[in-house]
Symmetry: C2
Subunit: 255 residues, 2 copies
């Protein structure tokens, strides 16, 4: 046998644009058609589709920017109302300069605009909408996983991903902002290497690696492929949510 391990990723067709409150799990199960889910499969969902069904829209016309948001907006040359919303989702401003507002998201990730953007958000002509991350993406993933279990009897992992920029490297990559039913962070301490010694890499961000893999198929543009089925060699024996991937600033030796 030529192959020891396999991982197959497939982007589902037929997921329609979703509205707040819609039955996302129903859409996914319908889109799967004859393809049966199996225990241990993972579904990777783009952040935006989860945020949309959870109605994480904010209409900028309803936002009154604070003096701080106005000042920062001037500095970064953005809409003060958008800056107000970004600040409401953030615990700290990391970098502010013309065109750039990088913050520490309240969930711990450091990224531009607190993950809020206008792209792939349909405007309804009556409002100026932006879309926020889910309130608690780990809880969203757990809910979706439970809903699939209830309806189908199958235990799948669920990962919610988004594409984010990062220090040192050009280009965005997919990261896991929420996860359930999968071990987001593998602890390899004590695992021997090929020659019986201690490994020097001790933790692996498994959910981030899966999020990046799925991101290859989702694309960023008009493709509209927000759901990827991953099947194969995944760490599902124990589960740890995506929140464990956030590094405490005091332990961040790269900063």
């Amino acid at each position: 046998m030529a192959f020891a391990r396999n991982l197959t990723l497939s982007a589902l067709t037929g997921i329609p644009p979703v509205q707040p409150g819609e039955d996302l799990v129903g859409h996914i199960l319908h889109a799967l058609e004859g393809e049966r889910l199996a225990d241990g499969d993972a579904l990777v969902l783009a952040q935006k589709i989860v945020s949309k069904v959870e109605n994480r829209y904010v209409d900028l016309r309803t936002v009154e920017p604070s003096p701080r948001a106005r000042e920062l907006a001037h500095q970064v040359d953005k809409d003060p109302r958008l800056v107000e919303v970004i600040l409401s989702e953030s615990s700290a401003v990391v970098r502010a300069q013309a065109g750039v507002l990088i913050v520490a998201h309240r969930l711990g990730l450091v990224l531009a605009n607190a993950g809020i953007d206008h792209s792939n958000v349909e405007q309804d002509g009556k409002s100026e909408r932006v879309l926020l991350w889910p309130q608690d993406p780990d809880a969203s993933a757990a809910r979706i996983r439970q809903e699939i279990l209830t309806r189908t009897g199958v235990s799948v992992a669920v990962v919610i991903n988004d594409s984010v920029g990062r220090p040192f490297r050009n280009g965005a990559v997919g990261v896991a902002i929420g996860a359930a039913g999968i071990n987001s962070l593998l602890d390899l301490r004590g695992t021997p290497d090929l020659f019986g010694r201690r490994l020097e890499v001790t933790e692996v961000a498994h959910a981030d690696e899966l999020a990046s893999a799925a991101s290859i198929l989702m694309g960023q543009a008009a493709e509209g492929l927000p759901v990827v089925l991953a099947r194969g060699f995944l760490a599902i024996d124990s589960a740890r949510p995506a929140s464990v991937l956030t590094r405490e600033p005091s332990r961040d030796l790269f900063r």
Copy 2:
């Protein structure tokens, strides 16, 4: 049809431990057995197997540490000879404290110990060997790709990956340190979103996402699975090496 796009990753069995100068492409083609490579397939190779055939070993017994390496070694509590080798592969020291030496690698990546470690490096009893990254991983990838083309007539992409830590997030992820025959960094500027507007994510680190995906199958420990075949939705219409993934410090807004 339920699936719009697919990507299948498979770790090859039967790649033996390699020695300097060995025929890595021969090992890969042999390990593939009856599985025929096809144009557009990608092979992801662990950095260590490439470094080993390129004889990027350094025997620490031959290293005379400089005064600077001795001083730094004391500060970080590491072998002064190892620190000397790390410095020889680095352009700057980013962080030095007990047990930790994070540097800017001469190739541009910022990482611990310049990517040098002892794990999965067999000691031959006569030396104290450490293993460095390939001298020029993009060139290594291009050479391997050309060798496969010459022997089989098939045009594959080749990516060389390693697992590295990163700011803000716990756990290592696979990144591309070398690439050939694949577009390492997708430029989406001008691409419209679902609703006809400009995208806000403009560059995607495609080779890093593939490197992370392959890393899931390789593992970090005694599994010995250094070669992954990736087949499916990959960006091979134009090629850009992994070096384009290195962000100029002056353009790094996250620092």
